[in-house]
């Protein structure tokens, strides 16, 4: 890897920082409390679809593993349990094994905000207001050519039917789903439902999202993708949405799961999956489960990749354009 100086991006970089300032201005006006957090932690939330960075604390003979946080969730939820109220973190997060590309960087700026006494659709309203705020304040020659007066809302079930010709019955039944995928020409042998599902989602659904003149909100993912989201009463889907502009995924929102038992089960499952995939074996954050036992207030939260968001608002096709110093392969 190399250090690359892109000094000609200085103006873009300043515009990126301006967008960060606008985001913070908006959130603070709305009553969200800013929190700064560590990026090194001795334990993490186990998530099978991502890899982490491992490092070590040393003091004479003492050795202790530390991990760069892939998201601030484990800290913010502890504070929510303490009663901090609606709050946000805007800072660095780290995801290993993501080679740098136009939409990815292993080190990136994440905005994560939580609203108490709210569900995912309340966040959707707040978010749309934030997008409008950014669009009004960013100089007009950058302004998005997209109408921010409303969301184009589509459920995952509707999207699979509309864009991939996969019906509700097939979507939730693993066997039927894989059969249908094979018929469509996908390789399914040796692959799980989750793997094939995300391949079809990225190939056939994503390219249509956020392209109909409005930002798209796609919601209610199958429970296999619930992560830390609360399930819907149907038991098949989770209260999770993602939002898109111009085919690019910009954020991921959940109504937060408060049931510690269910969360612990999901953690154990994810941890097992991580081990099976040969991923870095980090300790599970047991304190997180402990905190949930005290009681997480009803809340919803969203994580947004700030470089991506800024890239879309500034009209670039790659997050590289925002960086004056870049680490490249």
């Amino acid at each position: 890897m190399k250090i690359k100086v892109n000094f000609s991006n200085l103006k873009n970089h300043q515009n990126f920082l301006f967008i960060i300032r606008l985001i913070e201005e908006f959130l603070q006006k709305k009553g969200y409390l800013k929190i700064d957090l560590p990026v090194l932690s001795p334990s993490l939330i186990p998530e099978s679809y991502l890899e982490v960075f491992e490092t070590e604390f040393r003091y004479f003979d003492k050795r202790e593993k530390l991990y760069l946080t892939p998201s601030p969730e484990l800290f913010l939820k502890r504070l929510l349990v303490e009663g901090v109220g609606s709050c946000y973190y805007l800072g660095k997060s780290f995801r290993n094994s993501d080679p740098p590309s136009s939409l990815h960087s292993f080190e990136f700026t994440m905005l994560e905000f939580y609203k108490v006494k709210a569900n995912y659709m309340d966040i959707a309203n707040e978010l749309l207001e934030m997008l409008r705020y950014l669009n009004e304040k960013v100089k007009s020659d950058f302004a998005l050519k997209i109408n921010l007066n409303k969301w184009e809302k589509i459920s995952v079930v509707e999207a699979f039917e509309k864009y991939a010709d996969i019906f509700e019955k097939e979507l939730f039944d693993h066997q039927l789903f894989l059969q249908k995928a094979r018929k469509k020409g996908y390789q399914v042998e040796k692959f799980s439902y989750e793997e094939v599902w995300s391949q079809i989602y990225v190939s056939e659904i994503e390219p249509h999202l956020g392209k109909n003149g409005y930002p798209t909100l796609i919601y209610d993912y199958p429970k296999e993708f619930a992560a830390l989201a609360k399930l819907n009463p149907d038991g098949k889907t989770a209260q999770r949405f993602e939002f898109y502009i111009n085919g690019i995924e910009l954020g991921d929102c959940y109504t937060e799961l408060a049931d510690w038992k269910e969360q612990e089960e999901r953690f154990l499952k994810e941890d097992k999956q991580r081990k099976k995939l040969g991923k870095i074996n980090h300790p599970i954050d047991k304190g997180f489960i402990q905190a949930l036992k005290y009681g997480l207030p009803p809340c919803a939260g969203i994580a947004i990749g700030v470089e991506r968001l800024a890239m879309v608002f500034l009209g670039f096709d790659s997050i590289d354009k925002l960086k004056v110093i870049d680490i490249i392969l």
Partner: protein, 188 residues
């Protein structure tokens, strides 16, 4: 040879649905749910068609060993471009359908890389740029000082491209043969 799609890179040739394609773009993509993926843009060497395909990064893809051989471009007719291997003096023909417009910017006698598989020519590797003489250019209209303004000019191969107003007959221009875009003028 089979490799994991996660290791695909630009320039690789793959067998996909029984046809040979060249990878134009390969980007790793972790959607935050399910598996990591490899988003690719692939180019059909026979038809010149581009398509987007997303592979699971752990999915096996068949790599095809395609050779690229330097050859002299001889001439073209309505169906093919004709090349000669200077070492063996063997002649090869590449169908026009495989080069998607590239032929408009090729000069006879030029050396180019031809993609060969099992001694069958598939296509031509587009050069990054070509240098061509302007044979016809209208005088720029006086008073038109818009710096971004362009005019059509005719090149020695017969192709017409849009070039800046200061380009004159006899100038050598640099063109991207894949897009037909003017990228510069050769210094005198």
């Amino acid at each position: 040879m089979k490799i994991n799609a996660g290791n695909l890179k630009k320039g690789d040739f793959i067998l996909y649905q029984n046809e040979i394609w060249q990878v134009q773009k390969a980007e790793f993509y972790a959607p935050g749910k399910g598996a990591a993926l490899m988003k690719t843009k692939i180019w059909n060497v026979k038809t010149g068609k581009n398509i987007d395909i997303t592979f699971k990064s752990g999915e096996e893809v068949e790599i095809v060993e395609v050779e690229s051989r330097l050859m002299v471009f001889l001439y073209k007719d309505n169906e093919n471009l004709y090349f000669m291997d200077e070492k063996t003096f063997n002649q090869y023909s590449v169908p026009l359908t495989a080069v998607s417009g590239l032929e408009k910017y090729l000069k006879e006698g030029e050396k180019l890389y031809v993609y060969i598989f099992n001694d069958v020519p598939l296509s031509v590797r587009p050069p990054l740029s070509v240098r061509l003489k302007v044979v016809k250019a209208e005088e720029a209209v006086k008073g038109d000082t818009v710096s971004s303004a362009k005019k059509p000019v005719t090149l020695e191969t017969g192709a017409v491209i849009m070039a800046p107003l200061f380009i004159k007959e006899g100038d050598i221009v640099i063109v991207n043969p894949e897009t037909g875009e003017y990228t510069g003028r050769e210094g005198k």
